[in-house]
């Protein structure tokens, strides 16, 4: 699971309703892997408005990566920024581990690189 996917996942347990706690999910016991990929600046820039930057920042700190506080102006010209973003959201993969909701403590497992976000019908 690339970290860009994590930026799209929110806790959806029925009684878990505090939006400040449901997202981003906190990583627990994760096994990370760097897999090199070709950088595509046009795609990265197009993706920027679709990302939740504060959540990405929180996760980067948690995992010990460094991203700027906010998206710089003219990001398409900022090589260092684009490289850091590319490395973090597209080249960093979670192989195994879990994601925990800060609100309800529900734990979502990641197995063989795929997050299991399925809840039992009564939890939805």
């Amino acid at each position: 699971m690339r970290l860009i996917t994590h930026n799209m996942l929110k806790c959806h347990v029925k009684n878990c309703t505090d939006p400040n706690q449901q997202f981003p999910l906190r990583f627990k016991d994760v096994q990370l892997e760097q897999i090199e990929a070709e950088r595509n600046d046009e795609f990265l820039v197009r993706m920027l408005p679709r990302l939740d930057w504060p959540a990405l920042l929180t996760t980067s700190k948690e995992l010990g990566y460094s991203l700027p506080q906010s998206i710089p102006e003219n990001p398409q010209d900022k090589d260092e920024f684009l490289q850091a973003l590319h490395t973090f959201i597209l080249e960093t993969h979670v192989k195994e581990g879990s994601m925990v909701c800060n609100g309800c403590s529900h734990e979502y497992k990641i197995t063989n690189g795929i997050p299991n976000m399925l809840l039992a019908e009564h939890e939805i």
């Binding site: 690339r2 860009i4 930026n7 799209m8 959806h12 795609f43 679709r50 979502y108 299991n116």
Partner: protein
């Protein structure tokens, strides 16, 4: 048609026994996507989502259709074996797409973040008319059991589609005649989505169609 059908030979592995293998409905959807290549390139999608990706054949093909443009293609399935199969199929494809898989029902857990962000949504739902009690499994039957009129599953998604789509976003849906496609087009029009039947084919007893819905800019 010019683009190769994705390699899904690994589905022979017994651990993928519960995964729906590409069939006529799959191929019709691939043809519809390939016919829309100029349109999809002009649209330049950033986020695509396939619900119920099964083998991963369609997600992979979509990535090929969009290349050289890069796009994040998120594939979901309720069957964990299908998400693993999709991971292998997409992993074998070259091209510019970035693939992601998620084991979930429809787009649950992704939905809040994907609201208004999905440029291309694809769903080949369980459309076969079956007794209602066959609906809701997480194994093989999840790929085809559609309950009354074959609409039990798809009707849960349809009311949410307009909100998921980005401005100018498109939604491709596989249907058979028993699903009453004209009624679906009518229902979606109430959400402001313009629908049309873009492709039709008879496969055995099934009269398959691909519906395409577009959200205004």
């Amino acid at each position: 048609m010019g683009l190769p059908t994705p390699d899904t030979s690994h589905l022979r592995d017994p651990r993928f026994a519960s995964v729906y293998e590409p069939a006529e409905d799959t191929y019709l959807l691939l043809d519809a996507l390939e016919n829309d290549l100029p349109r999809l390139h002009a649209q330049r999608p950033t986020i695509c989502v396939e619900i119920g990706s099964g083998s991963g054949c369609v997600s992979t093909f979509l990535g090929q259709v969009l290349t050289p443009h890069a796009s994040l293609i998120i594939s979901t399935d309720i069957n964990p074996a299908a998400t693993q199969a999709t991971r292998q199929t997409t992993g074998r494809s070259g091209g510019a797409a970035v693939f992601a898989q998620c084991h979930t029902r429809f787009v649950q857990a992704l939905e809040p973040r994907l609201q208004g962000n999905v440029d291309v949504l694809v769903f080949n739902p369980p459309y076969v008319v079956t007794p209602e009690e066959e609906v809701g499994s997480m194994g093989e039957a999840a790929a085809w059991a559609g309950g009354k009129d074959g609409r039990a599953v798809v009707d849960r998604l349809l009311p949410r589609v307009a909100a998921l789509l980005a401005p100018g976003g498109v939604f491709y849906l596989v249907v058979i005649e028993e699903n009453r496609p004209d009624e679906i087009i009518h229902l979606m029009a109430a959400q402001g989505l313009v629908g049309e039947r873009v492709l039709e084919r008879r496969a055995g007893r099934e009269r398959l169609s691909i519906l395409r819905f577009t959200k205004g800019d």
